[in-house]
Symmetry: C2
Subunit: 334 residues, 2 copies
C-alpha cells in the first residue's frame, strides 16, 4: 500500500496528516449531509482503525444514517449532535468544503487541527492538513491507504465499511473513475472475508415500492425517435402523486431509456411544478448533451446534463426532441 | 500469475496442457452453443495469444456470434464451419462436455489431442488434458493464467476479450463466485488500458425495445403480499404479443421484484401456453425457494428455482401466493 505519488495540488500533505493522527489522543470524525455509502463507510472504517490505536473517537453527521446503511459496523455510534467538548483533532471525510457538513469555520474551536480527506476534484483544501486524491474512485480508497499507513491491521468490520464505500462510489466498478488500484484494494478487502453478496443486497436491493411504480409510469410513456437513436420518457406531477414517489426517486430512471439497443441519447422530463419541466439528458457514445442542455439554459457534462423549461410538458417534449434530432443530424460531438 | 494449487480433481493437468500447447504448430479452438461473453472472450484471447507464439489458429462456434459481442477483437474470425482438415490439437473452452459444442467423440479425428479448459464444477473431464478450476468466476480467469504461463505478453486486444469474459460470468463482480483473485486479475487487465466503460455499454446497454416494453407490462401488474415480503409479477401471452418480446426476454425481470425494500421472495409467472404457467422464484436472504418449486413439481437452488403449473393464470397465482405465505410463516430456510 502506498500513497499515490501524483497528488497534483501542492497543498496536499498526507504525511503531515498521518503524523497528526499518530499523536492525537482524541479524534472527532465528520461526514457530509445527505450521507451515502462512501462517506459513512470511510468515516466508520477510519474511526474503528483509530480506536484500535487506542484513541478516543466520535462520529458526526447532521442527518441520520439511511436505513439501507444501518448494517455497517459502527453505524449506530454516529451522532447527530456535535461533539462537546470538541477534541483538538477534527477529521473531515468526503467533504469538498465545511459547508458539506453544515459547519462554518467559526463553529470550530480555536486551536483545532482540521484534517481534510477527500477525492473530489472540486475540494477547497480547507484543512490544516489536506489529502485529496482526485484519482480515487471513492474516498474509501484513500481511507484504506491512510489506515494502512497508520500501521493498523485491517479487520473484517473495517473492510466491510471500506468495500461499501468503494462499491458505492465506483458504481460497482462500472463508473469511469474505477482504476486498477480500485480492484487491487478491493481484492485486499475480500481477502479479509467481506460478505460482499450481503452488502450488495443491502445497498442495491432496497428500492422503495413507490420508486418501482414510478419506473412503471416512466416506461409506460417511453417514446423512441430519430430512427431509434433517441429515447424519451415523461413523468407528470400526477405520476409522482399516484406512485407516492418523491422527486429523488426519479434519480437514475433515465438509464432505462439509455440501455435500449441503438439509443445514443436518453431524456427524462419531469413536471416539478406548474409549467416547470426538469430535463435530464444522457448520451452513450458521442453526442455532447451539455450543448443541448445549454440551448435551454442548463448544462453539465458531455454525457450527462440537465435543464429546466418553464413551459407545459407537451411543448417541452417537442422542443427537446427537435433540438436533439437536429444535433444528431449535425453530429455534435465536440 | 500462478496456477491455482487446489485444483481438486486429480485428472487436472495444467502443466501437461501447457506443454502440448507450447509444441503444437496448429490449434483449433471451440466454444459452446448459445455463446456468451465468457466463452467467446476467453476463446479469442487464447487464440490471439497462441497466434502471437507463431501458431496457426482457427475458431469455431456452432452459432453466430451475438451482435452485442461483435466488438470483441477477433470475433469476425469465428467460423460456424468445423476446421478441415482438423489440426492435431483441439482446445475446448468453457465446455462441460463435448455435447456443449454439439460434437461427439467420433467426430474428432483419431490421434487428436483434446484439451479441456473450464470452470464448471459439473465438467466431465473429457479431455486428454484437463484444466478445470471451479473456483474461477469465469473461464476467462483460467485463460488469463494459461496465457501468462505460456509466456505470452498480454496486449489490449486479449485484455479486452478477457475483461469481457470475467465481467460477464461474475455479473460485474456481484455474483458470489467473485474472489480476490477475480479483482487482482481484472486490475492487471485495466493496467493494459482496457476501455471498460465501452465494454459495459456493449454488454449491458443493448436491451431490445421489446424487452423494455415487457418490463413495463410486468411492473404494471406487480403485487405485494405477505406484509411486503412477497412481490409477484405476471406476464400473459398477450403481454408477449403486444410488446413483441419473446420468452427469452423475460430473463432477469424477476430481479426488479426482488430489488424492492423488504421483499424476501420474488415471483414471475409467465403464460407460455394455454393453461401452462411457468414460475420463476427468487429469494434474497433466507427462504428456500427450491422447496416451494418442488411443491409444484419443479426445483432448482435455495435462492433461485422454477416450476410449471398447468392451470389458468389466476389459479396459479393464488396457489403460489398461498404456498409462499405459508412457507414465510413456517420459516423454510434449511
Amino acid at each position: 500500500m502506498r500513497i499515490r505519488k501524483n497528488l497534483m495540488n501542492p497543498k496536499n500533505n498526507p504525511e503531515g496528516m498521518i503524523e497528526v493522527l499518530r499523536k492525537a489522543p482524541k479524534v472527532a470524525l465528520f461526514s457530509h449531509v445527505s450521507p451515502d455509502g462512501d462517506c459513512i463507510g470511510s468515516m466508520l472504517a477510519l474511526g474503528l482503525a483509530l480506536e484500535k490505536m487506542g484513541k478516543e473517537v466520535s462520529f458526526y453527521n447532521l442527518n441520520s444514517v439511511p436505513s439501507y446503511l444501518a448494517f455497517l459496523p459502527g453505524s449506530s455510534r454516529i451522532s447527530q449532535e456535535l461533539p462537546s467538548p470538541q477534541p483538538e483533532t477534527l477529521l473531515f471525510v468526503d467533504c469538498t468544503d465545511l459547508g458539506r457538513v453544515n459547519l462554518s469555520r467559526p463553529e470550530i474551536s480555536e486551536g483545532s487541527t482540521v484534517l481534510n480527506l477527500d477525492h473530489h476534484i472540486s475540494n477547497l483544501f480547507f484543512g490544516d492538513f489536506n489529502w485529496v486524491d482526485a484519482q480515487a474512485s471513492a474516498v474509501g480508497e484513500v481511507a484504506l491507504t491512510l489506515i494502512s499507513e497508520l500501521g493498523v491491521e485491517l479487520d473484517v468490520d473495517m473492510a466491510t465499511n471500506l468495500y461499501t464505500a468503494i462499491v458505492t462510489d465506483s458504481g460497482c466498478f462500472q463508473y469511469s473513475n474505477t482504476t486498477a488500484q480500485t480492484h487491487r484494494l478491493t481484492a485486499d478487502l475480500l481477502d479479509l472475508g467481506v460478505d460482499f453478496s450481503s452488502i450488495h443486497h443491502h445497498i442495491f436491493n432496497q428500492k422503495p415500492f413507490a420508486q418501482i411504480k414510478l419506473l412503471q409510469c416512466a416506461l409506460e410513456g417511453l417514446e423512441i425517435h430519430a430512427d431509434g437513436q433517441l429515447a424519451i420518457m415523461m413523468l407528470s406531477a400526477e405520476d409522482f402523486e399516484h406512485s407516492g414517489a418523491d422527486q429523488e426517486m426519479s434519480e437514475g430512471l433515465v438509464n432505462y431509456a439509455r440501455s435500449i439497443a441503438g439509443v445514443e441519447v436518453a431524456v427524462l422530463l419531469k413536471e416539478v411544478g406548474p409549467q416547470e419541466i426538469k430535463g435530464g439528458l444522457r448520451s452513450n457514445l458521442w453526442l455532447n448533451v451539455n450543448e443541448i442542455a445549454a440551448l435551454f439554459g442548463g448544462g453539465g457534462h458531455h454525457r450527462a446534463a440537465g435543464c429546466t423549461l418553464r413551459i407545459p410538458m407537451a411543448e417541452a417534449k417537442q422542443r427537446i426532441i427537435t433540438a436533439i434530432e437536429e444535433a444528431l443530424t449535425i453530429g455534435w460531438n465536440h
